[in-house]
């Protein structure tokens, strides 16, 4: 790809990288967040660390492409290669600032499903939670990354694999769900926040995306920044040239990002 053109997924990686603050400990799952961390630590967040449920702890980008967190370049020059109990205990202690999640379905309070969905022919079995339930329960905040498809936005998730804000309000507190819950959603069309009641709202549209197209994908009246903060819906910043260069350095064949 030439010039400053970029793919939807490259923009998602750039947006996800912005969610990692300098000094954060980020729980980095697979795919796009894995690249987002490497971008963040190479740009604005040189003091960030990443932890992986496999046991890996890193504070620098890997020297080589990563299909998974267990590829040798991710183990080489890691800070530590420890165990899952160690990593999950950090999460349970409240030491993870931001965790990344994906999902097949999301509802208006950010509850996520990766276990099974209903289809015309019955029930479709998906791979399951992995560490997602734990990250959703225990991270200080979570950021959700998801392809923007109408079937993914549902009134009620078929199975609540990774609890968000439940049915809204102080649900997490009432249900003794420890962490802070979903704080942002980044899709292939837009970015979203969660208001004080835990409800999803539209924050910014990606360049070239129409407001009506986004709103039409939701089976409920989607709140927007105008409803929540009184400010208008922004345009998402496109990835800068240096960030694009980094994404293509970390994913040279575009396995995850094209």
């Amino acid at each position: 790809m030439d010039g400053d053109a970029y793919t939807d997924r490259e923009l998602m990686v750039a947006a996800a990288a912005r969610e990692i603050d300098d000094g954060d400990v980020a729980f980095v799952g697979m795919r796009l967040p894995l690249i987002a961390f490497q971008v963040a630590v190479s740009t604005h967040a040189s003091n960030a660390r990443s932890v992986f449920e496999s046991g890996v702890v890193r504070d620098t980008p890997a020297d080589g492409f990563l299909h998974t967190m267990c590829d040798l370049p991710n183990l080489d020059r890691a800070v530590s290669t420890t165990s899952m109990i160690d990593i999950m205990s950090r999460l349970q202690r409240g030491d993870i600032d931001v965790g990344f999640l994906g999902g097949a379905e999301i509802d208006r309070y950010g509850n996520l499903n990766t276990t099974r969905v209903a289809s015309d022919s019955g029930s479709v079995r998906l791979p399951g939670s992995g560490g997602a339930c734990d990250i959703a329960c225990l991270s200080q905040r979570t950021v959700v990354l998801m392809a923007h498809e109408p079937r993914r936005f549902v009134r009620d998730v078929t199975y609540n694999t990774s609890p968000g804000h439940g049915d809204g309000g102080d649900w997490r507190e009432r249900e003794s769900v420890a962490g802070g819950g979903p704080d942002a959603l980044v899709t292939t069309k837009a970015t979203f926040g969660f208001d004080d009641g835990g409800e999803l709202y539209l924050e910014s549209l990606h360049p070239g995306v129409d407001f009506d197209d986004v709103v039409a994908d939701f089976p409920w009246d989607l709140r927007t920044a105008a409803d929540v903060t009184g400010e208008s819906v922004d345009r998402t910043d496109p990835p800068s040239r240096p960030v694009l260069d980094l994404i293509r350095e970390f994913d040279p064949d575009g396995f995850w990002t094209r």
Binding site: T68, C70, L72, L91
Partner: protein
């Protein structure tokens, strides 16, 4: 002097009876004991209960070979492509019981088993359907603080199968790289099969006791199988063969494709040497990175 526990892989896997619960893939995408799993398929060891966190392909292959009755896991699929079609089909057709876990609940189940306690508490799971739909997890009040907690009961598999870089004939093993729930799995299981890239003199193990993460008293049998984790990676030895994962996904979308795949990669290859002759790629690390020397002294 301790007795050697070395067996060849087929004799070691033959110790595992049909109907056993077997923990596998405990280091997540790292060090998956594919060679041992394929030997289970060749021997037709069936009615298995599989235990693991993110199981990746090996569970899908054993399910596709129709050897599995129950899966107790957090995630079953293909990390490179998502869906594990044999797992999905078996669940949708009602041929597989699944006990849904999170990664932490699998880890805590094995840790409880390893510690010899009936359960461990956690702040995870609460609020999820993983918890709500489970017949095993319980809610309890912390008697000290009054907090609500989830209780995760112990799992004690009949067998754990793990792959390590090197082991002595007695089963004392060095393992490095990320470990996931490898050691919890070994300590929780009644019997453990250690598959090693290399069987070494016990003096090699004792030269670096901090790296001895499995001791022979927990080990039933040791088998030497170079490249026994392919297509998964093993720290310091070989990288992941991603194309193999993508190819598997493309070829196993239906039963016939799975049967063909199993025939090509499992049934028609008698052992790992024959298997590795079919793998043309060079997966060795492109650069050696050797740890700084460690001194113990006396």
């Amino acid at each position: 002097m301790p007795q050697s526990k070395v067996r060849d892989l087929s004799a070691a896997v033959d110790l595992i009876d049909s109907g056993s619960s077997v923990a596998l893939g405990l280091a997540l995408e790292h060090a998956i004991p594919f060679a041992a799993g394929h030997e289970l398929i060749r021997q037709g060891t069936d009615d298995l209960t599989l235990v693991g966190p993110i199981s990746d392909l090996l569970f899908d292959q054993l399910i596709g070979a129709e050897l599995v009755e129950t899966v107790r896991a957090a995630w079953v699929g293909n990390v490179s492509t998502g869906t594990g079609y044999n797992f999905r089909r078996a669940v949708e057709e009602g041929n597989l019981d699944v006990e849904n876990h999170s990664n932490f609940s699998v880890a805590l189940s094995l840790k409880a088993g390893a510690m010899g306690v009936p359960y461990l508490p956690t702040r995870s799971l609460l609020g999820s359907d993983v918890f709500a739909e489970s017949e095993r997890f319980r809610e309890a009040e912390d008697p000290y603080s009054g907090d609500r907690l989830a209780l995760v009961p112990a799992i004690r598999p009949d067998w754990s199968i793990v792959h390590v870089q090197r082991a002595s004939p007695y089963g004392d093993a060095h393992f490095w790289g990320n470990s996931g729930v490898t050691f919890e799995g070994v300590d929780a299981a009644t019997e453990t099969l250690v598959v090693a890239e290399e069987i070494v003199d016990p003096a090699v193990i004792k030269s670096d006791p901090s790296r001895t993460t499995i001791t022979g008293d927990s080990v039933t049998a040791v088998a030497e199988v170079p490249y026994g984790c392919h297509p998964s990676p093993l720290a310091g030895r070989y990288n992941r063969d991603n194309e193999h994962y993508v190819d598997y996904a493309e070829r196993t979308t239906d039963r016939a494709g799975t049967a063909e795949w199993l025939d090509e990669w499992v049934h028609s290859v008698p052992n790992r040497e024959a298997y590795m002759e079919r793998v043309e790629k060079d997966l060795r690390p492109t650069e050696r990175t050797v740890a700084a020397e460690v001194e113990y002294g006396r």
